[in-house]
Subunit: 249 residues, 2 copies
DNA sequence: TCAATACCGTGCGACACCGCACAGATGCGG
DNA sequence: CCGCATCTGTGCGGTGTCGCACGGTATTGA
């Protein structure tokens, strides 16, 4: 990966990646890729390449959903706002899915904030343009909507019952699955907003994971060292969600 | 309402109601009712009246969804199982909606347990039969799927940030909106499974609400006394979900 | 009618997480 | 290269909920 200072590193530096595949004809989004060729061709003229920039916001709570995004790389977080200032992640979207499900389901306004949590690239289509299609596209998108509901439900239960350490492990795994690297650049503060806890809580939990030699972290940098160890530490929610993913293919 | 001992009471005794409108031609389910007449007539031959019996289970986690239910009265809880034995409510369905959204979205197996939390009656249709229809039915059902996602997301955040007392208030309001009475028969133990807390926690929280003269409760019986007072005590989640409900109509 | 069961009320120590405070480390711009 | 903003590490008291224990009261059924 090319960083701003010109050096090369294996890390997935969230925020400074410059997608290179944006002009490539291959569709690296799971939903689009699983379409029959003829349906994809119908859709293609409406698809517009789009760069997902770190920390930019696709949708804001209560604002219109103008485009639906099909990520080819990168990660999008769905965030709910609570108590005025707190935020909490209720969904995580990678190149297996799409952002803007609610619009597809017919809702004009976004129920959550969609935040680019890992830079990447995507195709997007105007919400109005998507309405015209049906067939296999519909089937796939609907099934994905279902998957997202499962993910959200599981998160609800997870927030209620599982300690920070397990939630952090799950988050690292789920994000890892959607990124191309096992090393990312992210602040504890950012993570605290994802997990719905204080920054200090993230610090403690990460410390525990590091002591167990599952991850290593320092300023703005987290590396997963022992992936299967993390799976053992994470709560059941990770496995459950992953199981549900299989039905998407 | 007729109770088992033959006496009449205004309470909504969850569990022993004998729906009387099951033979009436009117459709008291919001989703079905909002269909254009011609579409409803197409669907009608496939619709089968069904009695929702208290504490019976419509779907079990991981089991097939054979029918989709459109309640005309009564309440259905969607429950997620966590940590083996704990359960937590991630969705609540009344006559504004339907149970089995996942099947409609194309998922063959149920991601959650669907438990009749308040007796009533419904129409149901074989999952396979529903697939053939489109048009306004689709639009409505999709929008409802969206609404349910909002509800689940909000619950996730709610479980994380809001104390039992507020969650209980919200639960009473949401359930009240879907029942025909402001008095219901329910055990603290049952409630604890809905809210994902211990029975003792429910007891304390209910005690506080009672002291504030918002509810009154005794063995298996809860009465909401001051509805608007409850709204003041409940967390923001109630209002947010209610707001989203408006878009269903 | 009496015993078994279901349900409710409460007290107490444990613990996870919070809120706050503050000091140290790192990186960036002038 | 220095100053300032950002990010990190840690300590301490407070609070909400848990886990457990146990006694009380209503309901049910033989």
């Amino acid at each position: 990966m090319l960083t701003t200072d010109g050096s090369t590193r294996s890390a997935c530096r969230i925020g400074d990646s410059i997608p290179k595949n944006i002009l490539r004809p291959e569709i690296r989004n799971g939903l689009l890729a699983s379409l029959p060729l003829n349906e994809l061709e119908l859709l293609r003229p409406r698809l517009e390449p789009f760069v997902l920039e770190f920390e930019s916001i696709l949708y804001e709570v209560g604002k219109p959903i103008e485009h639906i995004y099909f990520p080819c790389s990168g990660v999008v977080s769905l965030l709910a706002k609570v108590n005025g200032n707190s935020t909490i992640e209720v969904g995580l979207i990678g190149n297996e899915g799409m952002a803007g499900v609610s619009a597809f389901l017919g809702a004009p306004l976004s129920p959550s904030r969609a935040l680019i949590q890992g830079a990447g690239d995507a195709f997007r289509i105007k919400t109005a343009d998507l309405d015209r299609y049906g067939g296999a596209l519909n089937r796939h998108l609907l099934l994905y909507a279902h998957y997202l509901m499962v993910q959200i439900s599981q998160s609800a239960a997870c927030y209620r019952f599982h300690p920070i350490e397990q939630r952090l492990a799950r988050w690292l795994l789920m994000t890892g699955d959607r990124m191309e690297s096992n090393e990312y650049s992210i602040t504890q503060d950012f993570l605290s907003n994802m997990l719905g806890v204080r920054r200090e809580g993230v610090n403690r939990a990460a410390g525990v994971l590091q002591k167990k030699n599952l991850i290593s972290f320092s300023r703005r940098n987290i590396v997963t060292i022992d992936r299967s160890g993390l799976e053992g530490t994470a709560c059941e929610c990770y496995e459950k969600i992953r199981e549900e993913e299989k039905s998407l293919r």
